[in-house]
Amino acid sequence: MTPLQMIFILVAAMTLGAGLMVVTARNLVHSALWLVLALFGVAIVYVLLQAGFLAVVQVVIYIGAIAILMIFAIMLTRNIASESGPRFNENWSWALVIALVLFGTLAWMLSGWDGIAAQAPAISPRFDTVRELGLALVSPEGFVLAFEVASVLLLAALIGALVVAWDRR
């Protein structure tokens, strides 16, 4: 086993454990903090896959914005930050079935894919992944349409927030 594989197993175990704690922790703030750990584990997996940009963006957006916003919302809401009622409602069996089906389907699809056992080709140090990603995002052969659609969506959300918060006097 190479050191990389050992690190991957440790990180994957940490991510899964943290994910399990998110849904089983009694305290909502603890759940949110475990979620931060799980998201951080995903960021480390991106680093192991040599996707540095994705890893950093994962931390900036998911930990820096979304997780902090969640903790903020939990702290601002009265009485739900402390220990609270049952952790499961009557739909838990359905959730379990859906999760198992999703996991099974993904595992089945990935086991049929011939890239699953292949070794990733080494990236030469001269290859700037960030530059290639940037060019792909704005080139017509690349993802410029998806990029622009996402931009318009975000702009609409921004204007929507402004309209909602506008003080009409």
């Binding site: 050191p3 931060v36 540095g52 950093v56 900036v60 820096g64 997780a67 902090i68 992944t129 960030v130």
Partner: protein, 403 residues
């Protein structure tokens, strides 16, 4: 000869290889030793920052500062550390123990993590990440998390209020900071800080003074120092998020804050003042470390100068200043810098040449002048609004006269 760190690293690598270790293991050990060395070096500098801070604030307030222990009071920080270590360690009743103890560690560790990407000298740097600029933002986000954890786990209303104020402030000021950092990225053609320092034959503070000013202001806000120190308002919420912390746990927050200020100085130096660049720095890399710390200390001094000269800004003014001035200004600067850069390259002016820098400077002066005249007309309207007579108890305001 003039590159001791790499010489030691090569000697150590040869020694470990002669012991029969594989090259992968040797690299791992060298990396760990490097991490330990940078972290310890920075923490030792941190000890003396306490002394620097106290001496400088004393000068600003026309006092002498610590002068009893050792020459110029240099042993004072060690006495402070001993005092912090032997203080009683209190965990408040109802505190969340794990989160409570994790928060100060996170607060200091995130600051140390920033030093991983700062190039000390042309041959001395922790990691040359190709996303270095974003890495700084990401680590800053984790630092904010540490403050929330401290405020929430203390089980204290004032701590929680302080944490909420800090988070509102740091998240808001992160926006202009990130946008302003895009300007050196455009000028340096890379997100790697090593690359940005390498391409600064002319300091970027010449080509991008507005971005430098925006970065410095949002860095001070990120640090939570005066005039943005509403997280620690003694008269309103006592000590803010670290009110319940005692002894060395408080010490970690304090050390983290001081070191963060120096780190921001080092980042400012790397982005806008040429980092390790200086006379003979390329021949003798050890000089580069000296230049970097000289520049970082200068910015640290500027941050202290601002801190001890200006009164606190009110929270609504602070957020208005961010969203209505800094963020639009930063966005305008980035857009016009990108356009001018494209135009200059099309005209055949090489990036980083003197003509290029002067053209960028002219652009910045133009944007700055437009901003100032807009602010002046806004201030005139605002003054008229405030000066207009507003009777407090007239019938149409109080609603009494309505039948």
């Amino acid at each position: 000869m003039f590159d001791p760190i790499n010489a030691i690293a090569q000697w150590l690598a040869a020694l470990l290889a002669s012991l029969g270790l594989s090259s992968g293991l040797v690299n791992l050990i060298l990396t760990l030793v490097g991490v330990l060395a940078i972290a310890s070096f920075v923490l030792i500098v941190d000890i003396f920052l306490v002394w620097v801070e106290r001496k400088v604030v004393a000068r600003f307030q026309d006092r002498l500062g610590p002068n009893r222990l050792g020459p110029f009071g240099l042993i004072q920080p060690l006495a402070d550390i001993i005092k912090l270590l032997i203080k009683e360690d209190i965990t408040p009743l109802g505190a969340d123990k794990v989160v409570y103890n994790l928060a100060p560690i996170l607060a200091l560790a995130t600051v140390l993590m920033l030093w991983a990407v700062i190039p000390f000298a042309p041959t001395m740097l922790g990691a040359d990440l190709n996303v270095g600029v974003l890495y700084i933002v990401a680590v800053g986000a984790i630092g904010t998390l540490g403050i929330i954890m401290a405020g929430w786990a203390s089980n204290n209303k004032y701590a929680l209020l302080g944490a909420m104020r800090t988070v509102a402030l740091t998240i808001a000021y992160e926006v202009p900071m990130v946008v302003a950092l895009l300007v050196p990225v455009i000028l340096g053609r890379s997100m790697s800080i090593h690359q940005i320092v390498n391409s600064q034959t002319i300091w970027y503070i010449v080509a991008a003074p507005l971005a430098a000013a925006i970065f410095l202001i949002s860095a001070i806000a990120e640090l939570g120092r005066a005039p943005f120190d509403l997280a620690e308002a003694e008269s309103e919420i006592v000590a803010g998020f670290h009110i319940e912390y005692t002894g060395m746990k408080f010490g970690l927050f304090y050390a983290g804050e001081l070191l963060h200020a120096l780190t921001m100085g080092a980042l400012f130096a790397s982005f806008f003042m040429g980092g390790w660049r200086g006379p003979f720095a390329e021949q003798a890399p050890i000089l580069g470390v000296f230049y970097l710390f000289l520049k970082a200390m200068f910015i640290y001094w500027v941050i202290m100068w601002v801190k001890y000269s200006l009164p606190r800004v009110r929270i609504d003014h602070m957020l208005n200043f961010n969203w209505k001035l800094l963020t639009p200004l930063a966005l305008a600067v980035v857009m016009f810098t990108a356009l001018t850069d494209k135009a200059l390259i099309e005209l055949g002016v090489a990036a980083g040449s003197l003509t290029y820098s002067l053209a960028m400077l002219a652009l910045n002066l133009l944007i700055g002048w437009i901003t100032l005249s807009l602010l002046r007309s806004y201030a005139r309207i605002e003054r008229q609004r405030v000066a207009a007579p507003r009777p407090v108890a007239s019938p149409e305001y109080s609603g009494v006269a309505k039948s």
